[in-house]
Symmetry: C2
């Protein structure tokens, strides 16, 4: 049987609100030892992603960016829990991104599939 996203995804996802300051996002990224946060609304629905790449961008162009909503990506590329890993892995490469939030039909975040998780499929463990 070909592996599904739910078989290898990370279920501990760190989330943040779009009104939090950039330094708070950086602190959450460090504490979670991750490069990716999901941005959710008050009902827990996905509204964007913010990564260490976006935080670094705020250093190069300090300007007006103050809160997560100013630097996050809103058009998020996602995966579903029962999606084949084959399909999800090709999205990572096609869009040059290293994580896909995994969402259900109500757009709530169930997990995160990172490119690092693909490592679980090597070494004969699958």
């Amino acid at each position: 049987r070909s592996p599904r996203v739910q078989d290898i995804m990370d279920r501990n996802v760190v989330s943040i609100g779009d009104d939090e300051v950039i330094k708070a996002a950086a602190a959450k990224l460090l504490k979670g030892e991750t490069n990716h946060l999901v941005v959710v609304d008050r009902e827990g629905r996905l509204v964007g992603v913010v990564t260490t790449y976006d935080v670094s961008k705020a250093i190069v162009h300090p300007g007006k960016a103050k809160v997560v909503g100013d630097i996050m990506t809103r058009k998020v590329i996602t995966a579903t829990p029962d999606e084949s890993v084959d399909i999800a892995a090709q999205k990572l490469e096609r869009y040059n991104i290293s994580a896909l939030p995994v969402t259900d039909t109500a757009n709530r975040v169930q997990g995160m599939l990172t490119a690092i998780d693909l490592g679980k499929l090597f070494g004969g463990r699958w």
Copy 2:
């Protein structure tokens, strides 16, 4: 035949010196649309890695960090061009890192294997 690192690694690697300021590292990361830079000495030998994660850390703990040498990781986990992807992929997962500089016996950087590159092995292309 099982794929080797050299079959899927990225050969365009962005490098930087350890004496460059942090903002210069952030700018190179953005320009290269990548999360990873290799830090090399004047002879082009690998001395460290610096990532968007390290740049974000400098935002949370501004303190004394001024140049790349203050924030880079010096004990670098690497791969060799003829190493099996199976082995390299397991290193990414074991150390929770998303890229391995690929070096030759003289410690010169030949390429970078990112977790995103693992995506090339899915979808029946291998």
